[in-house]
Symmetry: C2
Subunit: 288 residues, 2 copies
Amino acid sequence: MASANDNLLTLIADAMPGLSKSEKKVASAILADPEAATRSSIAVLASIAQVSEPTVNRFCKKFNATGFPDFKLNLAHCLASGIRYVSQNVEARDSVETSTSKIFNSTISTLSLVRDKLPPDLIVQVVDQLIQARRIHFFGLGASSSVAKDAEHKFFRFNLPVSFHEDVLMQRMLAASAAPGDVFFIISYTGRTMELVEVAELAKANGAAVIGLTAPGSPLAKVCHLLIAVAVPEDTDEYMPMTSRIVHLVVLDALATGVTLRRGPKFQGHLKKIKDSLRATRFPSNEA
Amino acid sequence: MASANDNLLTLIADAMPGLSKSEKKVASAILADPEAATRSSIAVLASIAQVSEPTVNRFCKKFNATGFPDFKLNLAHCLASGIRYVSQNVEARDSVETSTSKIFNSTISTLSLVRDKLPPDLIVQVVDQLIQARRIHFFGLGASSSVAKDAEHKFFRFNLPVSFHEDVLMQRMLAASAAPGDVFFIISYTGRTMELVEVAELAKANGAAVIGLTAPGSPLAKVCHLLIAVAVPEDTDEYMPMTSRIVHLVVLDALATGVTLRRGPKFQGHLKKIKDSLRATRFPSNEA
DNA sequence: TAGATTTTGTAATAAATTTACATGGCTGGG
DNA sequence: CCCAGCCATGTAAATTTATTACAAAATCTA
C-alpha cells in the first residue's frame, strides 16, 4: 500500500547499493538535482550523468515507469508533494521568511519519510495493546512531556484509563507498583534519558508492557516490548528537537484513531457526549 | 511568493472567458481531466480537444510555459500539491493501515497549504513583538494547552521571560494585572472558548499585546492585535482537532527559530549551556 | 582462459514537439 | 455589401526527443 505513491527519491536512494556502475551515475545525477531532472531531456540528463541515453531510459523502466517522460512525471509528482528527502537545515544567515519555509518543508518531508518507513502492522499491534490495557501511563520529559500530555488528553476522550506524568518521582512510583495489564507508553526523542530508561526497566520487571516512541537503537528502544522507532535526522546541536516532536504527535494521532476505529460505532456516542459537554464553554458558531 | 506557482487550473478556469473558440476547447479538455492531460502527448490531447497540435502548443505558451512538456510539468505540480486536500477524511470502515496513512497525508497536505497561505511578513512581525516583550504568557485550554506548554518549553530555552498557564484562574489573574510590554500569546483551535476570549479582552484593556494563533473570523481572532490565522478544514465533529494542533506547533517552531535568528550568534552560547546541562542526564551516545 | 552473461554504448527508428507557412474566417472601412 | 487586412487555426515540414535493436565491452563462471 505504501509503495503505491511511495517517495520515488527515497526509492532511488534505497536502491542505490543494488545498482550497477552507470546506473549509480544516473541515480546520483537525479538525486543531486531532482528538480532539474524533471526539466531536462533524456539527452541532457545522460550527458550530466556521463552515460548513454538508453542507459537513462533503462534506469527509468527499473523504477516502474513506462519510459523517460513517465519517469519525469513521477519525479515531478513526488517533488511537488513537498518531499525533499534531504532536510533543509536552517542556517544562521537565513531570513525569517526563509527559515519559516525551511521549517515547514522539513517537517513535511520528515512526515512523509516516516509514513513510508513505518511498518504498517506495527500501529495495529500497538492499538491492540492499548485497547486491552488495564491502565495506560504516558511518560515523557522535557520536550516530550507536552507530547505525552497531549496523548493523555486525546486518549482520555476515548474513555481509556490513561494518565500522564512528567514528574520523575511519580513515574518511578507508578513503575514500581506496575502489574501485568498495565501499559507504559514512553516517549523520548533521544531515548537516552536515564530516568526514563530506568523507569521502563522497572515497569518491565514488574510484568507491565512497555511501548516506546523513540529513536531506534537507543537504550530505551532496547527495553521496549513494542517499539515505534522514529529516526529523525535532526540538526539537534544547532536547534532543538522540532520535527521529531511533530512526528511523535502524528503517530499518536494515528494510534488514537486506530483505537477509535477498533472500538466501532457504538463508541461514537461516548465521543459525542464529550463534545456536547464542551459546547457550553464556547461561543456559538455562526456557521450552519 | 505564493502566486508564483499558484494553482494553474484556477488560472485556466479564470482565463476561460477571454479565450478563443478552440482555446476554450483545449481548456475544457484539460480541466475535464487534468491528471490525464499530464500523461498524454500533445497529439492525444489535441485529438481529445478536437483541435490541431499547434493550437495546443500555443495554448501552453499562453500560460507561461516554454512548450507543451513544460506545461505538463506545471500541471503535474499543481495537481500533486493541490488535489489532496479533499477526501482524506478517515471513515469508520477504514482499516488501521488506511487511517494511519490518511492521517499522515492530511497532516502533510494541511501543512503545505498553510505554508503557502501564511503571509511571510506576519511571522516577522510576531517575532519582533516577542523579542521586545517584557514578559510572554502562553495560554491554551484543552487540546491547545499542550501546545502552549510546548511553546513555553521551547521559548524558555531561549531565555525569554515566558510562562505557560492552563489554569483559567491564573490566566485571568495575569490578564487582570497585565501592563504594556506584556505579550499574551493565546492558542485556540476554535477561537470560541469563552474563557480565553475574555482573558484576551482583559489583557488588551490593560494595554498588553495580544497575539492569537487561532481560526480566522472567530471571536478570539477579533480581539487580537496580531493574528496568525490557521484555517484547517477539519472534521471536528467526528474526531478532535488533530491537524490544527500540528500546524500550531509548526508555526511556533517557526516563531522560535525566527527569534533565535534575530538574536544572532552571540546567543548560541546560551543555547549551548542549556544543552550541556542536559547532557549529564543522558546515556552517552555511541556515535562519534 | 573460454564461454556465458550482464552491462553499456552505437546507430537506426519511431514518436513527439516545434516551427514555418498557408488557409479560412472574421472585422471594419469604404 | 464587399474587399483588405488581421487574427485564429490548421497543414506539413523540420527538429528535437525518446525508444528499440543490435553490437561491443566488461564481468563473471567454470
